[in-house]
């Protein structure tokens, strides 16, 4: 469970998050909003790359904002990025295992974890294959594997399906749905693909201009008038 209260971020004159308050309980939760609404900025605050000017974040009883950014990943804040972050010269095994290496989990438990994560995302490839030899969809799965390896507590997925063809998105959505149960983590999914969001998330929160404008069961939220209005004029057409 993660509780965010009154979170405000300022970049000079831009205020990408303006008093955002939200609670994500468990399972897979959606976070949607038009481009520029502040979704990625919210993830950046959780990862520690961006310091908020005010606000509180409590994750599983711990004050997240007090934690050094590189420690958060070891503690359990994991994420994928909107833009691809493939480290081409590493092998899949090495890349997925980076975080374990840093938190000094060794020996057989490390190997099991890493191979388990590669298996979990249904990557059917030689773990020794270099990342550079993989296709776009496989790289995406490697990113997800990297986000769930070991003991994740909070998995942040920033538009994981962007640019993927339909069948690949289908596979990815199966993987995402399985994360809470298999890995025991809370997942926050940001995506513009509403069918992906509705198939993965029971609850969804909506951001617009850095404010939370709706939250609740996904199907209700998607029918909410304010949400429709927020999306009007953007490239997204609501079902």
């Amino acid at each position: 469970m993660i509780e965010v209260s009154d979170l405000t971020v300022r970049f000079g004159g831009v205020i990408p998050l303006d008093g955002m308050s939200v609670t994500f309980e468990r399972g897979t939760c959606g976070l949607i909003g038009p481009n520029g609404a502040g979704k990625t900025t919210f993830f950046n605050v959780l990862s520690g790359f961006v310091k908020p000017v005010s606000g509180q974040i409590t994750a599983f009883g711990e004050d997240l904002l007090k934690m050094a950014h590189y420690r958060r990943a070891r503690w359990g804040v994991r994420r994928t990025f909107q833009t691809e972050q493939a480290i081409e010269e590493l092998s899949v095994y090495e890349k997925v295992g980076l975080i374990h290496e840093q938190s000094k989990v060794t020996g057989s438990s490390r190997r099991e974890d890493v191979l388990g994560a590669i298996d979990f995302v249904k990557l059917d490839i030689d773990p020794n294959a270099k990342v550079r030899t993989l296709g776009a969809a496989q790289r995406r799965l490697v990113e997800v594997a990297r986000a769930v390896v070991g003991k994740p507590r909070l998995v942040l997925l920033d538009e994981p399906a962007a640019g993927l063809p339909e069948e690949e998105t289908e596979l990815l959505s199966e993987v995402i749905r399985a994360i809470p149960e298999h890995m025991g983590a809370l997942v926050i999914l940001v995506d513009h693909d509403m069918s992906l969001v509705s198939s993965c998330c029971e609850v969804t929160a909506v951001l617009d201009f850095g404010r939370l404008i709706a939250s609740g069961p996904t199907d209700e939220v998607l029918r909410d008038e304010r949400v429709m209005r927020a999306y009007l004029g953007t490239e997204e057409v609501m079902a």
Partner: protein, 372 residues
Amino acid sequence: MKTETGARTEEAPSGAAGGPGAAPGRGRGARALDARSLVRPAVIAVLVICFLLFIPSIFSLYYVDAWTQVAIYSIVTLGLGVLVGRVGMVSLGQGAVLAMGAWVAARLLFATGLPFPVVLLAAGLITMVLGTLVGLPALRMSGLYLALITLMLAGAITVALATINFPNGGNGFTGYDGSTVHIPPIRRPSIATTDPAFFRYSVVAAILMFLLVLVHLRGRPGRAWAAIRQSESAALAGGINTTLYKLWAFALASFITGVAGGLVAGSYRYLNSLTFSTQDSITLLAVVLMGGAYSMTGAVVAAILLKFLQALLNDWGVSPDWLTILFGIGVLQVLTTAPRGIVEQMPKDLARLWRLLRGVAARPAAAREPAE
């Protein structure tokens, strides 16, 4: 609180010390890979031994000295290659770091009777501390700004060393005596007093430094550096302490460059402020980019460009200015068409040439074919 304990228990089984992770599943290709990975070191070992045995006997003393410089400077270019190629931090201060290493080594060699390898080690360690300070700006800035600030630091260090002078056997902290008429040469290791012997000594030292870097690249720091080069935020999201690993890279580069500085002191035997210039730092970056900052072979190629080519042109009576022009063109070419440097470009060019030659050779046959 509760969660903190959770994180600790996760770390608990690490008692048996880090070490690179066990290789994942014995894949099909695993055995073939083992055989192949043995061939390369073997070939390199044979080449190195031939090099060690034959260079002093087939080259004149002039060129033996040039090869000594190649061996020494390959350590310097290797260190810069780690910074630029592996971590993505462009430093223009490595020439000054080398000068600091040489100063420290010369001072120790005059003032103490310590064995030469111990002096090299001490020079490496002291330079490591100083050079890491030069790298501190890298924690705050990157790219052009880092390059400029390291260049300015290099300039300041060069000026400072010129003011306090290089040790020449005098007393006091600086070990410089301006009134000395007879300047004693800097001591060499007792097993390597002659030029050919010092050449072999330098090659062995260089090999040790290459192995040290190889161990780093193959291990945890190498993978962390690869992640940082790709993207600092992604590295942080992977739990990598980017501050630590950036400083680690500067520490490693400075250590080996300091050792190289000690070898420079031993090979030149007389040092003065003209031995090192700020421009050296820039030339170093140029040859590293040309040779190939991403590979260890590239470091050797860079050192050959820097020191052997220089000796060759000098021998032929060509002005060294041409070298500067050549490096300028070379860097432009690398930046525009061959970002991975000569080591990766050469095989491609040779392959293209080979295909071209084969095409030419095959043409008469091809021309005959339709006639049949």
